[in-house]
Symmetry: C2
Subunit: 214 residues, 2 copies
């Protein structure tokens, strides 16, 4: 079976591929968008991570005829009522500028005291079988036939200046609960073991294996 990782974010693709390949998916050939014909990218207009992840996976499955995995992830900040949230990758007003996003958030939180600097990375990961429908919405348990959404959450607190060079996005200002290092100071395999994306994708693995008949 071919499984398409439907992300245009190069850093995310590395993580998704690493996590899925590390999960022991024998008999599953993992592809990226570079391996399939191009198709148009819809803007992310959903109000939730799950809506966006499902929309991206559905678009990819419909365009390619392949089973597709997509994620939508972001940083939810207590002092900003859960924002940047679904706007994490475009918090500075446009896509593609991790440094501007991070510096903007640090500036917004400059006067926020330590006790209100809690945050969580959240990931919704969707698995969509081609032909499983466009209009379907997740049930209370997050699944519809041929479409699965799972979540991963990673709690921590936010620093006042970046630390570390691993990872991407807000990693340099996020210290996971129980850690003293930022998530940009963790090795890749340490991050995957703890992270919102690792948790969510590992929760998808049994659903992928079910599709292979195992």
């Amino acid at each position: 079976m071919k499984l398409l990782l439907a992300t245009r974010n190069a850093s995310k693709l590395v993580e998704l591929r690493r996590i899925m390949e590390g999960a022991g998916l024998d008999g599953v050939e993992v592809l990226g968008l570079a391996d399939v014909p191009e198709f148009p990218e819809a803007p992310e207009t959903g109000a939730t991570f799950a809506e966006n992840a499902l929309a991206k996976a559905r678009d990819a499955a419909n365009a390619t005829g392949l089973t597709a995995v997509a994620d939508d992830s972001g940083l939810t900040t207590d002092a900003l009522n859960g924002m940047p949230g679904v706007l994490s990758a475009r918090w500075c007003g446009h896509h593609g500028d991790d440094v501007a996003n991070l510096n903007l958030l640090l500036g917004q939180l400059a006067d926020v005291p330590d006790e209100r600097r809690g945050a969580a990375f959240v990931c919704a990961a969707a698995l969509v079988v081609p032909g499983s429908g466009d209009a379907a919405a997740p049930d209370a348990d997050g699944t519809v036939p041929g479409q699965t959404v799972v979540h991963g959450t990673w709690r921590g607190t936010l620093l006042r200046a970046p630390r570390g060079t691993n990872g991407f996005g807000y990693d340099p200002i996020f210290v996971p609960d129980g850690e003293t290092r930022s998530s940009a100071e963790l090795a890749a395999e340490e991050k995957d073991a703890l992270s919102h994306r690792g948790t969510a994708l590992r929760a998808l693995v049994p659903h992928v294996l079910a599709l292979t008949g195992r």
Copy 2:
């Protein structure tokens, strides 16, 4: 009686003075911070408009010995879970740049469809009598002896580009419910009659008058 309007924002001072003087406060001399000796400005670290308004009015009353009015106001946006909120004046990461704040918000909302562009201007206005205490917190009804907090809310929707040159802050992208013009296209007296700040300050007037013995 002297009443100190404790704001360092020149545009706000104009509005506060216009609304308070328009409310017929005979026997009340309305002063601005330019009329009293300088005192240090504390950063706004409150999680709510009410906390910040109270803190500013308390600081001003303690520093000057005058009865003080302060407000904390902002734009609460549905698609941003109520943010920019208390960070409205420093949304771009620093104070003093209305244009950067507005453009950032427009960029963040670029992919947000019309049906999720609801917003509200909210104002908390605090009246503090000097010597009424530092640690006091508002009761459920928003008052403690010598300290009063009232709120005003102005619902509307957000445009995709600024319109109008009156007002300040987010006025050019806010269309009040029942209006077709932005709040930057309203005349000053029209804005005061409808606005969050007008509503809140008029609700303070009876409390001010009570202090004058009327």
